[in-house]
């Protein structure tokens, strides 16, 4: 199969790039491993208090449906159930499970999104233990619950959101607990650190649910101090949020039947075993990181940016990479949420059109406008996944400039 642009990932970033490019008259093939387009948009439903009234509802499922419908109407091809296993810079991508083995393309956009960070607990391989993201997909997208009585381990915006959604869907959420303290949980196992992170993200949190969390933790330091001293759980929508208790073991033979919890000291040490709680499912949450395996295998250097969720591929302000004709958009460039991904997808679309000489004279302003729109989306973003994203973006830009100066690469004005 031959086209102008191959796009890897049919999430918000990939689809919005596809829409722009197809409307410009370019041939576009969008590829995704999932059997339905939309990526992680499909599981999202919240209100953004930073938007004007009337524009606050974010219905990811509806947005995904409209986007993929528009993309097809504009003439792009979406291939789902197809895995991309190699980028051949300058000539396209190799695929598995599709109608052919290679999509020949003049430009490639990598929009592979994010993966979840593991948060291991002894017994986490027992059936019934799954990632918080998995529970969200099964409940919100497929309408199947992970269990009747669920324990959440790992305290972060994702786990709190998923716990609330499960409860709303009729699950008994026994509680949200700290992960077991130790090397692997690291700071996520420390009560003080968890509260700091929550208050930083929750003052901009979507929906009543996280706003309540914001009030709880963002309120006063005295209150936060009291919470830390107290062993009593905070309460969010009737779900106990345990800041001084951790899940230390999951038990069960063929499937989960209980978890063991322990009291945790201020500085994150196990004080004493607490109790055994019956449950038929456990969700583990450790946050998200950019899924970079495909772009890294193409030789694109990765740089460490904790403010963006981990290792991110080095890229320029127009989402170009060191490989000519290979571009990035969405969470693969850093964890920032769907509205930013949509704006980045649009920018990547304009940037690719310019690269292919298809932007047209007098349309250079479209590039500037698209860059502005990414900035605006960031400002309006209701949820910060990682504190320090702005600083990390600046650092990345500086690294890119340094690379450009030191090399002959990059033919951008």
């Amino acid at each position: 199969m031959k086209t102008d642009v191959a796009i890897v990932g049919a999430g918000p970033a990939g689809l919005s790039a596809a829409l722009y490019l197809a409307r410009r008259g370019l041939g576009v093939v969008v590829l995704d491993e999932y059997f339905r387009a939309g990526g992680r948009l499909a599981g999202q439903l919240y209100e953004n208090p930073k938007k004007p009234p009337g524009q606050r509802l974010w219905d990811g499922k509806a947005i995904a449906e409209k986007l993929s419908g528009d993309v097809k109407k504009a003439g792009a091809t979406i291939l789902t159930g197809v895995s991309v296993w190699e980028i051949a810079p300058g000539s396209g991508v190799f695929i598995s499970g599709g109608p052919c083995q290679k999509i020949a393309a003049k430009a490639v956009l990598i929009a592979t999104g994010a993966a979840e960070r593991a948060m291991p607990v002894e017994g986490w391989t027992i059936p019934g233990v799954m990632s918080a993201g998995a529970a969200q997909v099964f409940a919100n997208v497929h309408g199947v619950l992970p269990g009747r009585k669920v324990v959440m381990a790992g305290i972060d915006p994702l786990s709190i959101t998923v716990a609330g959604e499960l409860k709303k869907a009729g699950v008994e959420v026994v509680g949200i607990f700290l992960p077991p303290p130790g090397i692997l949980a690291g700071s996520s196992g420390l009560p003080q650190w968890v509260i700091g992170e929550l208050s930083r993200s929750a003052d901009m949190a979507p929906g009543t649910f996280l706003k309540m969390a914001g009030k709880l933790f963002g309120g006063s330091y005295r209150e936060v101090g009291a919470r830390l001293c107290s062993l009593a759980p905070a309460n969010i929508w009737g779900i106990p949020l345990h800041l001084r208790k951790a899940v230390i073991r999951v038990e069960g033979e063929e499937q989960v039947d209980s978890v063991l919890t322990a009291r945790i000291s201020h500085d994150g040490k196990i004080e004493q075993e607490d109790c055994r709680i019956e449950a038929d499912a456990v969700c583990l949450s450790g946050g998200l990181y950019p899924l970079t395996d495909l772009i890294a295998a193409a030789g694109c250097p990765l740089v460490s940016m904790p403010g963006l969720g981990g290792m991110v591929p080095l890229h320029g302000p127009l989402l170009q990479t060191q490989s000519k004709g290979v571009f990035l958009a969405g969470s693969v460039t850093g964890i920032e949420g769907a509205p930013v991904a949509i704006a980045q997808g649009h920018l990547a679309g304009v940037s690719i059109a310019a690269f292919l000489g298809r932007l047209g004279k007098g349309n250079r302003h479209e590039l500037d406008r698209a860059v502005e729109m990414v900035g605006q989306a960031r400002e309006e973003s209701p949820l910060k996944f990682y504190p320090g994203a702005d600083g990390a973006r600046k650092e990345l830009a500086a690294l890119w400039d340094r690379w450009k100066i030191n090399s002959a690469g990059g033919n951008y004005a």
Binding site: W85, A118, P120, L184
Partner: protein
Amino acid sequence: MPDDKLIVCRCEEVTLDEIKKAVKDGASTVSGIKKRTRACMGMCQGRVCQSLVKKVLAHESGNQADSIETATSRSPVRPIQLGEII
């Protein structure tokens, strides 16, 4: 210590203790851990456990986890049948 039996790499069932031992035996990179223990070498290719392996490496060597280099990604980044490449 529950750490002993804690599985870090689900695919290859490699425990925290085994990874710590590999570090003691001289592994200082994710690649070194892979070669000694098979962690990160299973079906998921480290998508689940590589960040954990980095944390162990960092802790045992007294460094920051983000200072540990990510293992080199090589294609194919998804399991494919031999017939698809030859």
